[in-house]
Amino acid sequence: MTRQKRSHHRLKRAVAPYLYLSPSLLIIGLLMLLPMVTVIGYSFQNSAVLRRDPSFAGLKHYQAIFADPVFWASLWHTLYFTCMSVVFHMTIGMVFALMLNSDRINPTLRNILRVLYILPWLFTAVIIAVIWRLLLEPNGVVNSVLMQMGIIGSKVEWFSSPETALHAVTFANIWAGYPLFMVSLLAGLQGIPKDFYEAADIDGAKAYQKLIFITIPQLMPIIISISLLDFIWTMQVFPLIWITTGGGPIYSTEVLSTYTYKLAFSSYNLSQASASAVVILLISLGLTLFYIRYQKAR
């Protein structure tokens, strides 16, 4: 083979992987990178989208949102909503997964429970929002049951009272999201070798010791991975909050997603909305990097 042919062949081999990747790279570039870069660009412009010749604004829009107390309230509500959701998703998911994996429960009952427990996952966010709005409305079933049981003396406006609204939407989100943990942990539980438990039985370990020293450490990679993903997804929840409370009453359930939406489609301030979206992007990016590092470390 001549030198020219050899170098041509080498070049072809070097380029080939990129050619194979190019359709995916093109799609990612067009559908993800381009909108992302465009929004970042908007956040540095005055009257972005609304004017054909927007001027450069520097960091003005970032300063404006950081000076807005509603933004900080939204950030706090987002953190509360997300942290509580993830913790309870994990706890409930773990309890239900252990229950479904237990030999002490009748197999038929276990299959019925498996279907029942996974039900919330089958509903879309809009359906979940409508269900909880109906259940928690002042004249709804929840108030009626609680009043009959003597737990509350008068009707509680779960979504309409600033004291209870954030807890109510968080509760609805917990209900909607635990099946992800349950299914993932159940798969993990079924992958733990029985030998570990048999050895623990021989050593006289109690049930809670087996849980703490065998089950949880074995599930830890799944728990951390799913928790991080859940954190990223929950932080961006929009339809559930928008349909149940619209960010109100007052600003008590305003989260970063509803705050950004209102800036864009109520105030038509697309520059500030872009700045707010970039803040959400940066937080998500930080968590994603953490997730990737964790995955690599494994």
Partner: protein, 414 residues
Amino acid sequence: MFRIQPAMLKIAAAAWLLGATSAMADTALEFTQWWEPELPAGSLRAIMNDFETANPGIKVTLVSGPYATTRDQISVGAATGTLSDVVGLDGAWVNNLNAQNALADMNPMMDASGFDKTQVADIIKVDGKAVMFPVASFVYPVFVNMDLAAQAGVTKLPSTRAEFLEAAKKMTHVDKNQYGWVLPLSLQTPSGVQNDLMSWVWASGQSMMADGKPALEGKPVVDMLTFVKSLNDAGVISPGIATKTEQEKVEEFVNNRVGMMIDSLAHVNLIRERNPKLNFDLIPVPVVENYTGKRGLPYASWGIGISAASKHQEEAWKLVQYLMSEKVNAKLVSLANAFPGNVNAKPDFVTSDKAFGKAFEIYKTGYLANEFTGLPVAEDLMTKFDVEAQKMLAGEQSPEQAAANAQKGWMAKF
């Protein structure tokens, strides 16, 4: 083997030429609106077909979608210069669109065509430019559940705020989940501020503005807030105010859970469908004591305007004129159960239906009032007012403080 014959080529060329010339001869108008899905199927298209017959050489393409989608589409179209030739408008959008120079001034078109301005109910102007005509108006009277009123001993329907409070108190029976009034102030759709709060101000011939600027700290708005607070303190408003939507308001009325509500006349048929046995009547929004002047009637409208970027403004104006003409306007509003944008048009339902007939009388004795029309970021202003009203109803501030805080928020937008 298949071979293309010269004759076939000639026929194809002739067909292409014919198609191309006829396409060139026709002016294609694009008309974006949210009306078509809200009208009986095919009815708007039929009106467009009539227009095309009356105006040979003009073809109209309807671009239709739900209200919210249309709003977003129009915002983007205005920014990118791709707005349709003719656009359906909500009064709340026109200020923003005008700031983007997206809407044509229809004044020169009216002058050039000798258009009779006295035939239209209103012309929405921004900075002196005529940018919108209300084609159809949906007024907001008070709906009264006559059975609940009779059971509560309300023999005379309220015409003043004090009478309204008394009637609402009588109709309220908390143990039966029954309330006198319903107030939807959800932040998801803050239109309750316009329809259910400010309507009290406009009904008494008052205003929330002064010299083109917000005047929320003035007596009319503070009095309205004080009145609404008194209704809330009296426990006559159905609970869940802060997250209640307009749809839920109607549902509560339909299900005999509230005695009175301020609502769009467009919902009459919906209410009848949901509860055919419901016995209800319509009254104007009650006024302040001793007020005898003309009553402002809150309304929402289907407006129409022309894109500033349209290359076919002359043809677009023909379509606007057509829809605003007496007969066509009457036909359109009859289909929509709305009141006409042409003052001479008389929709057929006002003679055939008692409720609409009564509403038409209310409409004719008052005047259309909606001060959010033409204001900058009207929805944002409503949201800001909504938040302050919610704080007031939650006991966090007085009506005066609510008005002052809302004024501060609004001034930042002017």
